[in-house]
C-alpha cells in the first residue's frame, strides 16, 4: 500500500528529505547536551575551572539554538510535505473518480466515496506530517541516547537489557489486548448511531405509533452496552502510563545503585551519572512514543487502504475502441440482441434479448411496472452502462466507436434522480451548453414549460439554487432539468420518468413543444402515465427485463395484455399534480 501511495509525494520529496534531516539534527543536538553537562560537572566543577564551564555553557546554548532552529524548520517542512502530499492524493483520487462509469460509482456508493475523498485523505496527510516528526524523531532519539549511554558506561547500560524488553512486553500486552476492545467499541458506537440516525429520519413514524418509550428503551440498551465497552477499553489503556512510570522509575533506581558504586570506585564521574539519568528517560519515553505511533498508524493504514481501493478501481467504460474523429450523425438508435446484467456474478439477466430499431426523429414511449428495467434499457444508449452481450447503435455506429464525450454530447438524458447544483438557475442551465445565449436559454425553458415559474421569481434566471436544488419544488426541478438537457441540442433526448411529478396539463404542453421544436431529435420518454406516451410513434412495453410488446397505442391495445391492463387501471382515475 505504501508503494502505491508513495508516488503522490512527487514535488515534495526534497522537503521530506530535508525535514527528516532537520528532525534527526534536532534530536542529536538535544541529546548531546547532557554529555556536555557531564563535562561541566566532572571537569569544570571538579577542577574549579570557571573559564571551562563558561565555554562549555556557550557550547550548550549554541547547540540548543541550532536544535531550536532545526525543530521549527522540521515543523514547517513536515507541514509543507504533508499537506502537499494530501493535495496530490486528493486530486489524483478525485480525478480518477471523474473517470468512473456508473457501475464504478454504484460499487462504492456515494457516501463512501465522499468519506474516502475527505476524511480518509485528511487522516493520511496528517499521518505523514506527524510521522515525519515522531516516527523519525523517536527512533533517532532512542538510538542516539543508547549510543551515548553506552559511551558513558557500557556496564551501566546493561540495565537497558532488562528495561527495554520489559517495557516492550508491557506495552505490547496493552496494545494487543486493547485492539479487539476498540473494535467492539467501534461496533457498539455504530449501533448507537444507527438508532439515532433511523429515528431522526423516521421521527414521524415513531410519533404516529407512539413508540417514543420503546425507542428510548432500545437506545438505552445499546447505550449501556457502549458504555461497558468503552469503560473496558479505556480502563485498559490507562494502564499504559503507570506501567511506563514503573519501568522508568525502576531503571533509575537500578542505575543509582549500580552507578553509585561506580562513582564511588572512581570508574565514573558523578556528572556522567546525572546525564545517564537523562538518557534513561529519553530512551524509554521514545520507546513509548513509537508504540503510540504504531497505534496511530493502524488507523491511517485503514484509511490509506480505502483510498488505494478507489485508485485501483478500473473505470468500467473507456474510450479504448473509440475513433476520436467520429461524431454522431443522426438520432437513430438500434438494439441488436442486447443482454445486460448489473452484477456479472449472478445468473439472471437484467435485460434479455432486446431488439429495437428507432428511426431518427421518432418519439418513443417506454412503459412498464416497477423493476421492469425501463431505466436500464435507456441507460445503454449514452453508454452509462455497457451491454454485456449484443450491441447498441446510435447514428449507425456501435456506441463503443464514439468517444464518450461525442456520444454523450449527442444523447442528452434527464435522469430519474436528478441533481441541480448550487449556483444560479442560469449557471445550472449552462451545464447543457456553456456558450448558450440568454435567448437560447429562454427558448429551452419555454419548451420545458419552466419559463412560467422562473419569470415569477423575483430574480428570474439569477435566482440562487441551493445545493441539491432544495429550494425548488418537486414539480419545478424536473422542468429545469429538461430545459438543461434541451440546451445541449441533442440528437437523442431521453427522459427517465421526468414528468411524473408534473401535472397532466403541463406534461401535455411539454410534449407538444417537443413535437414542434425538436422535430429532428429522437425523443425517448419513460413514463408512468399512459397519457404521456399514447401519442408516441412507438411504445415499448417492458416486463421483467424483456420487451413484452412494441407498437402504436392502437396496435398494443389490440395485441398486448399488459398494456391493456395498465390502460384499464388508469382509465378509472386521473393523475393530477403540479
Amino acid at each position: 500500500m505504501l508503494k502505491k501511495l508513495a508516488p503522490y509525494t512527487k514535488g515534495y520529496r526534497k522537503w521530506i528529505l530535508l525535514g527528516v534531516l532537520c528532525s534527526v539534527g534536532e534530536a542529536v543536538f538535544e541529546l548531546l547536551l547532557p554529555l556536555v553537562m557531564a563535562d561541566i560537572v566532572d571537569v569544570g566543577i571538579a577542577n574549579g575551572d570557571r573559564a571551562y564551564i563558561l565555554s562549555k555553557g556557550a557550547e550548550m546554548i549554541a547547540m540548543s539554538l541550532v536544535a531550536l532552529f532545526m525543530g521549527v524548520c522540521a515543523a514547517g517542512l513536515a507541514s509543507k510535505a504533508g499537506m502537499g502530499f494530501g493535495a496530490n492524493l486528493r486530486k489524483a483520487e478525485y480525478d480518477h473518480v471523474q473517470e468512473f462509469s456508473f457501475s464504478n460509482i454504484e460499487k462504492f456508493s456515494t457516501a463512501s466515496l465522499i468519506t474516502r475523498l475527505t476524511n480518509d485523505v485528511n487522516a493520511t496527510q496528517m499521518t505523514l506530517m506527524m510521522g515525519m516528526r515522531i516516527i523519525v524523531r523517536a527512533p533517532v532519539m532512542m538510538i542516539t541516547a543508547l549510543v551515548l549511554a553506552i559511551t558513558i558506561s557500557l556496564r551501566l547500560s546493561r540495565v537497558f537489557l532488562v528495561a527495554i524488553p520489559l517495557l516492550l512486553v508491557a506495552v505490547g500486552f496493552v496494545i494487543k489486548k486493547v485492539g479487539p476492545m476498540f473494535t467492539t467499541l467501534q461496533e457498539r458506537t455504530d449501533d448507537v448511531n444507527l438508532v439515532v440516525q433511523e429515528d431522526l429520519s423516521a421521527i414521524r413514524v415513531v410519533k404516529s405509533y407512539v413508540r417514543e418509550n420503546r425507542e428510548k428503551e432500545k437506545f438505552s440498551q445499546r447505550n449501556s452496552r457502549l458504555k461497558a465497552a468503552s469503560e473496558k477499553a479505556f480502563g485498559f489503556v490507562v494502564l499504559n502510563m503507570p506501567l511506563m512510570m514503573l519501568v522508568i522509575f525502576g531503571t533509575i533506581i537500578a542505575v543509582m545503585w549500580i552507578g553509585g558504586h561506580q562513582v564511588y570506585a572512581g570508574i565514573m564521574g558523578s556528572g556522567e551519572l546525572i546525564s545517564f539519568f537523562t538518557y534513561v528517560t529519553e530512551i524509554l519515553i521514545s520507546l513509548l512514543m513509537v508504540s503510540m505511533v504504531m497505534m496511530m498508524l493502524t488507523r491511517s493504514i485503514a484509511c490509506g487502504r480505502r483510498i488505494v481501493e478507489v485508485l485501483d478501481e478500473k473505470p468500467e467504460i473507456t474510450d479504448e475502441q473509440a475513433n476520436p474523429a467520429l461524431v454522431v450523425a443522426d438520432g437513430s438508435v438500434t438494439f441488436d440482441h442486447v443482454y445486460f446484467k448489473y452484477n456479472k456474478k449472478t445468473d439472471a439477466w437484467n435485460l434479455e434479448d432486446i431488439n429495437l430499431s428507432i428511426r431518427s426523429g421518432m418519439t418513443v414511449g417506454v412503459i412498464g411496472g416497477t423493476g421492469s428495467a425501463k431505466t436500464t434499457l435507456v441507460s445503454l444508449i449514452p453508454r452509462l452502462y455497457e451491454a454485456t452481450e449484443g450491441a447498441v447503435y446510435v447514428g449507425g455506429h456501435n456506441v463503443k466507436e464514439y468517444t464518450m464525450e461525442h456520444l454523450r454530447d449527442a444523447c442528452a438524458m434527464v435522469l430519474q434522480k436528478n441533481t441541480l447544483f448550487s449556483g444560479t438557475i442560469r449557471e445550472n442551465l449552462r451545464w447543457g451548453n456553456e456558450h448558450a445565449t440568454d435567448e437560447e436559454i429562454a427558448a429551452a425553458c419555454r419548451a420545458a414549460c419552466a419559463d412560467e415559474f422562473i419569470d415569477k421569481m423575483p430574480e428570474g434566471y439569477d435566482t440562487h439554487i441551493e445545493q441539491g436544488g432544495t429550494n425548488v419544488s418537486g414539480g419545478q426541478k424536473p422542468r429545469l432539468c429538461i430545459a438543461r438537457a434541451i440546451l445541449r441540442n441533442p440528437k437523442v433526448l431521453i427522459l427517465d420518468d421526468s414528468t411524473s411529478a408534473v401535472d397532466t396539463a403541463t406534461d401535455a404542453r411539454i410534449r407538444r413543444a417537443f413535437a414542434e421544436d425538436l422535430k429532428d431529435t429522437t425523443k425517448i420518454i419513460i413514463a408512468q402515465r399512459i397519457a404521456s406516451v399514447c401519442e408516441a410513434d412507438l411504445i415499448v412495453v417492458m416486463d421483467d427485463g424483456r420487451i413484452a410488446g412494441a407498437g402504436t397505442h392502437e396496435e398494443l391495445m389490440k395485441t398486448n395484455e399488459i398494456y391493456r391492463d395498465v390502460y384499464q387501471s388508469q382509465l378509472e382515475g386521473v393523475s393530477i399534480d403540479g
Binding site: 560537572v41 575551572d49 507541514s79 462509469s101 440516525q197 414521524r204 458504555k227 416497477t370 445541449r488
Partner: protein
C-alpha cells in the same frame, strides 16, 4: 495562563469559542458533580502522584551528596527503597485516578447521550423541520466525543499539570533561588512564544477550516451529482474548480500546521536553553561553594519537567474550549421546548354491553375516551374541523378557514396539487402541529384536551415516505402493535399483498432489513407500511399517498385488502391518483390552503368544477 480564552497550541483542535462559557460549564459540572466522592478520591490521588514524582526527583540530591559521594551504601540502599516506595505509590495513584476518571467520564457521557436521545423523542416535529438531521446527528457523534475526551483527559491533566508546575517551581526555589530566577525568565519567554505562535496559529487555523469546508463541500456536491456530471460531459470543469479549491486548502493548511507544529520544538528547545544556562550558572555556583552536585542533578531534572505542564495546559485549553462549545450545542437541544401536552383525556379499552361502557384490559375491539372526571365516551371516529387556520410559520398561512367533518366509518378524500395543504390537514388531526385558530374535535372532544399519546394511538398513519428500521421484516410490521403474534403479522402482510414478495426474500419474514430497507423497492416498502398500519388495527386511518409508488396494476391487486382495511373505519385518504379516491364518501378539493369543492364523485362530476376538469383531462385521452 490565567485567561481561559487564550487557548492555542498544536493538536489541530477547533478554535470554536463557546458563546456562554460560564453557564455551560456549570451545567456540565452538574453532570460530573454526581460523582462527588469519586472526584474527591481523584483529587487525592492526583496530589499524591504529583507530590510523589516531585519528591522522587528531590531525593536525588541527598542520594548523591550524602550517600554516593561519601560511599555509604547501606544508607544508599535505604534511600533507594524509600525512593522506590514513593515512585511506586505515585504510579499506583496515577493509575487509580486515571481509572476512576474513565469510570466517571463514561458514566457521564452515557447519561448525557441518553438524556439527549430522550429529549429528542419529546421534541415537536417543528423542531425537526427547522434542524437538519445531519446537524442533530453530529451532536451525538462529534460533540459527545469532544466532551468525553475532555472529561477523560483534560480534566485530570489540567489539575495534575498545575499541581506539578506549582510543585516544581516551589522545589526549584527551595533548591536554589538564583537558578530559579533564570528559569522564571525562561518561563516568560515560553509564555510569549505560546502567545505569539498561538495567536498566529489561531488566525491561520480559521483560514484552514474555511478552505477545508469549501473543498469538502465541493467534493460532496460533485460526488452526489457525479452521474449528472457524466451525462453532461462536465468532468473537465469539475476538475478545474476542484483544483483551485484543493490548492487553496493546501496552502492554508501548510501555514496553519507550520505554526501549530512549531510550538512543540520551540517550547522544548527553549527549555533546553534553560537547561544549558542552568548547567553553566549552576557549575559556577558550585565552584563558589553556593551549590552542590546533588542539588544540581535534582534541579536539572526539574528544569526538564518544568516546560511540560505549560505545553500541556496550552494544549488542553483548546480541547476544553472545543468541548464546552460541543456541550453548548448538546444543551441547546436539551433545553429546547418539548412538545406540549396538556391533554388529560385518555384512550381506554372498554367492554360494551348495550349502551353501558366498562373499562377493561382485555382486547374487545371497543375503545372509549376517559375524561379527567372519569366519564367514558365511546370512540367512534367522528372528526370535525371548525374554521381552522394554520401556518408552519406564524406569518405564512397554509390552511385558511378550513371546516370539514368526517362521520364515523366514512372515507374522506383530499385531492389537490402539491402544496395545496392535503398532508398538512392530516398532520393537524394527530397534532403534529398546533393550529393558530379554530377548533378540531374528535368524538366531540377538542383534540387539545386529549393526551397526545392516546390521540396518536387511535390513529393509524401510512405516510408518503416509508421508513423502515433495522431489524427483521416481521419486526417492522410488528412496529404497528408490539405484541402482535406471528399469525397476525402474516395476516396483515397478506392483507397488504406483501406476503408474496416477503416469501421471496432470502429468509422470508425473518429477513434482516438494513439501511432503511434500501434493498427493497419503493413499492415493496409501501406495502410493508400498509401492513404495519393493518396490524395496529386503529379506529381511524390516515393514508397519505400510501400507494403512490405502487404501480397501477399492483394497486388493483391490493384494492380488496385496502377495502377490508378501511371497512368500518373513518379513513382520510390523500392521493393524486383519482382511482384511489373515487369511492370516497366525500371528496374535498383543495387549492392554496382552501377547500374549493366538496361532494362525492358523482356530485363533483355534475358540478363541472375543478374536479371535473381533472377528470376530463383523462377523458381527452380517450
Amino acid at each position: 495562563m490565567s485567561r481561559p480564552g487564550g487557548g492555542h497550541g498544536p493538536g489541530g483542535h477547533g478554535f470554536q469559542k463557546p458563546k456562554n462559557l460560564g453557564s455551560t460549564v456549570k451545567k456540565l459540572m452538574a453532570y460530573i458533580g454526581r460523582y462527588k466522592a469519586a472526584l474527591v478520591l481523584v483529587a487525592l490521588c492526583l496530589v499524591v502522584s504529583s507530590a510523589g514524582s516531585i519528591a522522587g526527583s528531590y531525593l536525588m540530591k541527598p542520594v548523591i551528596n550524602d550517600y554516593i559521594l561519601p560511599g555509604d551504601f547501606k544508607g544508599l540502599l535505604r534511600m533507594l527503597i524509600l525512593m522506590g516506595a514513593i515512585y511506586g505509590l505515585s504510579a499506583l495513584c496515577s493509575f487509580a485516578y486515571a481509572r476512576i476518571m474513565v469510570h466517571i467520564s463514561q458514566k457521564t457521557v452515557a447519561q448525557l447521550r441518553q438524556d439527549l436521545f430522550d429529549k429528542l423523542q419529546s421534541l415537536p416535529l417543528k423542531y425537526f423541520d427547522t434542524h437538519q438531521s445531519g446537524d442533530l446527528m453530529s451532536r451525538f457523534t462529534n460533540d459527545i466525543d469532544t466532551v468525553s475526551e475532555m472529561i477523560n483527559n483534560s480534566f485530570a491533566s489540567l489539575i495534575s499539570s498545575s499541581l506539578t508546575f506549582i510543585g516544581v517551581i516551589a522545589m526549584m526555589f527551595y533548591l536554589n533561588w538564583i537558578l530559579t530566577l533564570i528559569s522564571v525568565v525562561f518561563l516568560f519567554l515560553m509564555l510569549m512564544v505560546v502567545k505569539t505562535i498561538g495567536g498566529k496559529s489561531r488566525v491561520s487555523y480559521k483560514r484552514q477550516q474555511g478552505a477545508l469546508g469549501a473543498v469538502n463541500g465541493y467534493v460532496e456536491e460533485m460526488i452526489e451529482g457525479q452521474k449528472v456530471i457524466k451525462v453532461f460531459n462536465h468532468e473537465k470543469k469539475a476538475r478545474e474548480s476542484f483544483d483551485v479549491l484543493n490548492t487553496e486548502y493546501r496552502d492554508a493548511a501548510t501555514m496553519a500546521n507550520t505554526y501549530a507544529f512549531s510550538m512543540m520544538p520551540a517550547m522544548g528547545n527553549l527549555s533546553k536553553i534553560d537547561y544549558a544556562v542552568t548547567c553553566c550558572v549552576g557549575g559556577l555556583l558550585a565552584i563558589g561553594g553556593m551549590f552542590d552536585i546533588g542539588g544540581l542533578a535534582a534541579y536539572l531534572t526539574y528544569v526538564k519537567q518544568f516546560s511540560q505542564p505549560i505545553t500541556q495546559i496550552s494544549q488542553q485549553v483548546n480541547t476544553i474550549l472545543a468541548a464546552v462549545a460541543g456541550a453548548e450545542r448538546i444543551f441547546d437541544v436539551m433545553e429546547a421546548q418539548p412538545e406540549s401536552d396538556e391533554g388529560k383525556t385518555v384512550l381506554v379499552r372498554v367492554r360494551k354491553e348495550g349502551e353501558t361502557l366498562t373499562e377493561t384490559d382485555v382486547r374487545t375491539g371497543h375503545w372509549a375516551w376517559k375524561k379527567p372526571d372519569g366519564r367514558l365516551t365511546e370512540l367512534r371516529g367522528d372528526v370535525r374541523f371548525d374554521h381552522v387556520v394554520f401556518g408552519y410559520n406564524e406569518d405564512k398561512v397554509v390552511l385558511n378557514d378550513i371546516s370539514l367533518f368526517a362521520k364515523p366509518g366514512q372515507k374522506i378524500a383530499f385531492v389537490g396539487s402539491t402544496g395545496a395543504g392535503k398532508t398538512t390537514i392530516t398532520n393537524l388531526i394527530n397534532r403534529f402541529y398546533d393550529i393558530q385558530s379554530g377548533t378540531i374535535t374528535y368524538d366531540g372532544i377538542n383534540v387539545q384536551e386529549i393526551a397526545k399519546e392516546s390521540l396518536r394511538r387511535s390513529l393509524g398513519v401510512v405516510l408518503q415516505d416509508t421508513h423502515l428500521f433495522t431489524g427483521t421484516v416481521a419486526d417492522n410490521i410488528r412496529y404497528g402493535r408490539l405484541n402482535a403474534t406471528d399469525e397476525e403479522v402474516e395476516a396483515a402482510a397478506k392483507l397488504a399483498n406483501a406476503d408474496a414478495f416477503i416469501r421471496h426474500l432470502p429468509n422470508g419474514y425473518q429477513t434482516q432489513l438494513k439501511g432503511d430497507g434500501g434493498n427493497l423497492s419503493q413499492g415493496e416498502r409501501q406495502l410493508l407500511a400498509i401492513a404495519r398500519a393493518a396490524v395496529s388495527d386503529p379506529p381511524v386511518l390516515i393514508l397519505d399517498e400510501a400507494t403512490s409508488s405502487i404501480d397501477t396494476r399492483t394497486e388493483k391487486l391490493i384494492e380488496k385488502g385496502m377495502d377490508s382495511l378501511m371497512e368500518d373505519r373513518t379513513v382520510f385518504v390523500i392521493a393524486h391518483r383519482l382511482s384511489t379516491v373515487r369511492n370516497a364518501k366525500a371528496i374535498l378539493v383543495l387549492e392554496n390552503g382552501s377547500i374549493i369543492e366538496r361532494g362525492d364523485h358523482l356530485q363533483l362530476i355534475e358540478e363541472k368544477g375543478r374536479y371535473y376538469q381533472l377528470y376530463t383531462g383523462q377523458a381527452e385521452l380517450n
